[in-house]
């Protein structure tokens, strides 16, 4: 089957997409993984994910991007959603102030459910709709700085900054993991904890290993 063709990779990183309903999470996902965009794509029900393999600083990284419903109501099933995630792209819609105001709630959600070392990037999506803008880029930038997040304005429709957003997250994760690996190597020689040696093989069968990489 198609989903098991590409298994040549050095790392597998799970990244979750979060943000209010209708901010464009699904289209960001489809733009990044399939280079597709659909104005009338259906609302996401339950949990879905797609993958794309790309190069990050010379390493082959398989990014597994998870997408879920934005409505708060479905948070009950999200425990499985955040499990093992090492990155998050938190999305708001620059034309809808409310979705920006809710960013704080999403941050809290991440703090409650995700690994504390999760790499978070904030994306102000729909930058193509500049004429309808309700959140200035400066507001976004300021919030990101305050919360210590990376930030970009994106447009899934025009394919602006989507690639860059994921590259940024993936690179940051890679740096953290390399540092951990290095630290582990130095401190190690001891038992076979995840991450011995120079390469951490974070395969998609080992959620725990991934968590280990970031939190230990």
């Amino acid at each position: 089957m198609a989903h098991r063709v590409d298994h040549e990779y050095d790392y597998l990183f799970k990244i979750v997409l979060i943000g209010d309903s209708g901010v464009g999470k699904t289209n960001i996902l489809s733009r990044f993984t399939r280079n597709e965009f659909c104005l009338e794509s259906k609302s996401t029900i339950g949990v879905e994910f797609a993958t794309r393999t790309l190069q990050v600083e010379g390493k082959t990284v398989k990014a597994q991007i998870w997408d879920t419903a934005g409505q708060e109501r479905y948070r009950a099933i999200t425990s499985a959603y955040y499990r093992g995630a090492v990155g998050a792209l938190m999305v708001y819609d620059i034309t809808k102030r409310q979705t920006f105001d809710n960013v704080q709630r999403w941050l809290r959600e991440l703090r409650d459910h995700a690994d504390s070392n999760i790499v978070i990037m904030m994306a102000g999506n729909k930058s193509d709709l500049n004429h309808l803008r309700a959140v200035t880029e400066e507001d976004g930038q300021a919030l990101a700085e305050r919360e210590g997040l990376s930030f970009l304005e994106t447009s899934a429709l025009e394919a602006t900054n989507i690639e860059k957003a994921f590259q940024t997250i993936l690179t940051e994760i890679y740096h953290i993991i390399s540092k951990k690996a290095l630290a582990a190597q130095e401190a190690a020689a001891s038992t076979a904890i995840p991450g011995q040696g120079t390469t951490i093989n974070v395969t998609d069968t080992s959620g725990n290993t991934k968590r280990g990489c970031c939190s230990t």
Binding site: M1, H3, R4, H7, S21, G22, E40, S41, K42, S43, I45, G46, V47, E48, F49, Q64, A69, G70, Q71, R73, Y74, A76, I77, A80, K96, Q98, T203, D204, T205
Partner: protein
């Protein structure tokens, strides 16, 4: 010599058949033409008294019949060109595999007679046709008499109750059993095979992991317990269910009839209103009309509650703005590929919007939740009327509302019941999910939340829903549908050692590839076979059961815990 043969009725193994072309002219005799894989076509086989449709239906029970994309009257036999079908054929589907792997043995003339005789509609499913013979070929060497067939059925039921694992057809390919009893013993403890083979999945190309046998082989079970699907209920037949004033005389018989075939589209409006409970079975035409007009007034009153909110008031009404915003976002992305909802400025989108917003006022506590627009869409499509759609949606939400509860308890109770049912009907699969930490059944979340709306084509969704709404056999047939699908793919799931994420992806990607008729038949068989043990897996009050005032409660203990 070859030509002579062409005009002789003789047995043909299905493995050699490429397609069957059906000719059912309005006037004149019906006939079929059988085309072999070699390209050779038989001369027309005439059915002097009709029966072509039944013939095709019967054939369908035994082989995979696909309607040709080019020609509606051509049915491809075991056509595995399509990747999904090919995948299916690699599973342990006995009928498909036996046909492609077992060397084709022409069956004896006596058996073929039943196939050639177009009149046969009610074939004894266990002892009917050549392909079945082939399918049971290995067993039939020992097993031949009809009495044995009955005992086989009993055995199947018995094996379920006692949780004895039964030989799976896959076993035929892993090892050749010497006697039947060793199979029973092996079945129950076969899970160790999985534990020992924790190879990295990436190496997996084929199916290297022995799949523990299915205690209830789905195909055999369906043949033994599931009835063939019928054509949808049409106008003429519908009239026979009504008295002169329009009351349904025998609601049970009607529900049963719909269970087995669904309803023709033009009848849906009338029938859905009754199935959903918006109109009652006992109402006359006049009473229904009266109800319609009353309800229309009532709808307008509720609708007016939000329509009368001024922009100034709206500014100060966050909750309302939020709901309206959510609904607006979802309406424009609900089934836009269907022409009924397609295009810009489509009035049906405003109807969707109005009904949803009105509902969020009617049931303010529940409000609007994503997914509701999916549930409303087919209803509006059928009703083509705002008020009627609203009240049918209200009736549907009486049952499915708990799916959207804030605490998700409706979903959790269904997912829990599903896990119990899988445990009952396929213990090895249950153990596999347990091992992979998938017992929460989140993988089936969308199936249940939206009653397969996102998994099926639009018309198939409508067909499934009307069948589910009959509540014939069980109010929870949808859970058996879930089990049926999981069982259908168990070989692939276990064989490829799917983890939660791959499993989720696999399940999500089944969308659009589900044959609802086959699945319903499987589900019916599973439901019948599970019997009371199945019902016992489903806690009282589990949606879509109504909140309990009219539920029949037979377990006072459970009653107490709820109180």
């Amino acid at each position: 010599m070859q030509d002579m043969n062409l005009y002789t009725i003789r047995a043909v193994p299905f493995a050699d058949v490429r397609s069957i072309r059906r000719h059912t002219p309005a006037f004149g005799w019906q006939y079929i033409i059988v085309v072999l894989s070699s390209g050779l076509a038989f001369p027309p086989l005439y059915f002097y008294n009709g029966g072509v449709r039944e013939f095709v239906a019967t054939v369908k029970q035994h082989v995979v019949l696909l309607r040709s994309a080019e020609h509606a009257n051509v049915f491809l036999v075991n056509d595995f060109q399509n990747p999904l079908q090919r995948t299916l054929s690699s599973l342990e589907l006995p009928r498909a595999v036996s046909l492609s792997i077992v060397p084709s043995t022409p069956v004896s003339g006596g058996e073929s007679a039943s196939q050639e005789n177009g009149e046969r509609t009610d074939v004894d499913v266990l002892d009917g046709s050549p392909s079945i013979r082939q399918f049971y070929r290995r067993e039939r060497q020992k097993v031949h008499d009809p009495a044995r067939d009955i005992s086989m059925q009993l055995l199947e039921k018995f094996s379920l109750v006692t949780k004895f694992a039964r030989e799976a057809t896959s076993q035929l390919f892993w090892e050749t059993p010497s006697n039947a009893f060793s199979l029973f013993e092996r079945g129950s403890s076969n899970l160790s095979a999985i534990d020992s083979s924790q190879k990295p999945r990436d190496d997996v190309l084929e199916l290297p992991v022995p799949v523990p046998p299915d205690p209830l082989e789905l195909d055999k079970l369906s043949l033994a317990w599931g009835k063939p699907r019928q054509p949808p209920l049409g106008l003429e037949e519908w009239a026979t269910f009504l008295d002169s004033e329009g009351r349904v005389v025998d609601s049970k018989a009607l529900r049963k009839r719909i269970f087995y075939g669904g309803v023709e589209h033009k009848l849906r409006k009338e029938v859905w209103e009754i199935l959903l409970g918006y109109q009652s079975y006992e109402s006359t035409y006049a009473e229904k009309e009266y109800q319609r007009s009353n309800r229309k007034t009532e709808y307008e009153i509720i609708k007016n509650q939000w329509q009368s909110i001024s922009p100034e008031q709206e500014k100060r009404f966050t909750k309302f703005r939020e709901r309206k915003g959510l609904i607006e976002k979802d309406v424009v992305r609900t089934d836009r590929s269907i022409s009924f909802y397609g295009g810009d400025g489509n009035a049906n989108l405003s109807f969707l919007h109005n009904v949803l917003l009105t509902y969020s006022f009617y049931n303010f506590d529940l409000g609007y939740c994503q997914g509701m627009s999916d549930l409303l869409s087919p209803i509006l499509f059928v009703m083509e009327d705002e008020s009627e759609s609203f009240w049918c949606f209200v009736a549907l939400m009486e049952r499915l509302g708990p799916n959207f509860n804030r605490d998700q308890n409706g979903m959790h109770s269904q997912l829990f019941a599903l896990s119990k049912l899988v445990e009952l009907l396929d213990a090895p699969l249950h153990n596999y999910f347990k091992q992979k930490d998938c017992l929460n059944y989140f993988i089936c979340f969308r199936w249940i939340l939206l009653q397969f709306k996102r998994e099926l084509e639009y018309d198939q969704t409508m067909r499934l829903w009307e069948v589910l709404w009959t509540h014939h056999l069980s109010e929870h047939l949808h859970l058996y549908v879930c089990v049926a699908l999981l069982k259908r793919y168990r070989g692939k799931i276990i064989g490829e050692q799917m983890e939660f994420d791959t499993l989720l992806k696999f399940i999500n990607e089944l969308s659009g590839h589900i044959d609802i008729d086959v699945t319903l038949r499987d589900a019916e068989a599973l439901c019948l076979c599970a019997g009371e043990n199945g019902s016992a897996c489903i806690p009282p009050g589990t949606p879509p059961s109504l909140p309990r005032e009219d539920g029949f409660l037979f377990n006072s203990e459970l009653d107490d815990t709820v109180l």
